[in-house]
């Protein structure tokens, strides 16, 4: 079973914003909402790093945990999606998300804050796949067409990788081996947890015990 994941290689991202533009155009994302954006750390300082940020489709998604109307669901492929017919636009998910993924259009059903909109991993929503209703609410469903999210497919430096977690992790690992640096995967630990038996700290023993 594929577990869809994103990896952004900060050693390669050149802050071209191609992913942002592609996402906006492909999904007809409304004005004022950016499902994906590029964040630059230490902007202007030599050695600055850029990362492309969107919903990471977390293994244990905090947005899912806090939603009062339970509008989120996870597909068989590990993509976290939501039902806009159920969302009440309360904004709890926005506070819970460590990546700032949930976005709210400025003029929606609920006055100043409309229903939540976020990256769907180009997997559409609960409507019939490829239908007009699905496109209008959630954008293109590229996964059902056998395609990966457009943001990753257009990335000119292949800094942004999307697809089955094992495959993209292998690609990233091979890069780190070749260049011998840049092994830090931004957001990976937060979104997908640490590997089992890895850096989990053991409880300290009380003094005097053997």
């Amino acid at each position: 079973m594929a577990r869809m994941k994103f990896i952004c290689d900060s050693e390669r991202c050149i802050e071209c914003n191609g992913c942002v533009t592609a996402c906006k155009a492909e999904n007809h994302v409304p004005w004022g909402v950016n499902r994906r954006r590029v964040v630059t750390l230490n902007d202007g300082v030599p050695g600055e790093k850029s990362i492309s940020v969107a919903c990471m489709h977390c293994s244990d998604a905090p947005c899912m945990a806090v939603c009062p109307v339970d509008c989120f669901y996870r597909t068989d492929d590990g993509v976290v999606l939501h039902d806009k017919d159920v969302c009440i636009g309360c904004g709890y998910c926005s506070y819970a998300c460590p990546f700032g993924a949930p976005q709210f259009p400025g003029n929606g059903t609920f006055g100043l804050r409309g229903k939540m909109d976020k990256c769907t991993f180009c997997a559409g929503g609960p409507e019939v796949s490829g239908s007009q209703a699905e496109f209008e609410k959630y954008g293109r469903n590229r996964l059902s067409e056998g395609r990966l999210p457009l943001c990753a497919e257009v990335c000119s430096t292949k800094a942004l990788l999307a697809g089955d977690g094992d495959v993209v992790a292998d690609i990233f690992r091979s890069r780190v081996v070749v260049r011998n640096k840049g092994s830090e995967v931004w957001g990976w630990g937060t979104a997908y947890g640490k590997p089992a038996g890895g850096a989990t700290a053991k409880p300290a023993k009380p003094e005097g015990t053997k």
Binding site: M1, A2, V69, D70, C71, F72, Y73, T75, D76, D77, L81, D83, V86, A123, G124, G125, P126, E127, V128, S129, G130, N141, L143, S144, E145, G146, R147, L148, A152, K158, L161, A162, G163, D164, V167, V168, D170, I171, S174, R175, V178
Partner: protein
């Protein structure tokens, strides 16, 4: 006459009480419609070639190959 008036009053009372009721609003038991799995397609002019719509294994293999195509080390070695 008195009996009819009582009946009318009772009916009005029942109608009034009926207006006090409300539809159940609890979330328990509600299922989010998760939509169809991606491997079910549908086939469209935009469907990428190389896999069979409706075949789960075919879709998974295709997606893994497509994800692997993001690895330019593999692509470059294949082109030579």
């Amino acid at each position: 006459m008195k009996r009819t008036a009582c009946l009318l009053a009772f009916s009005a009372l029942m109608l009034g009480l009926g207006a006090c009721s409300e539809r159940p609003q609890e979330l328990a038991g509600r299922q989010i419609n998760g939509g169809a799995p991606n491997w079910q397609g549908p086939a469209s002019p935009f469907t990428a070639p190389g896999w069979t719509v409706g075949d789960r294994r075919s879709w998974q293999t295709h997606m893994q190959t497509r994800a692997q195509a993001q690895n330019e080390y593999v692509r470059l070695s294949q082109s030579h």
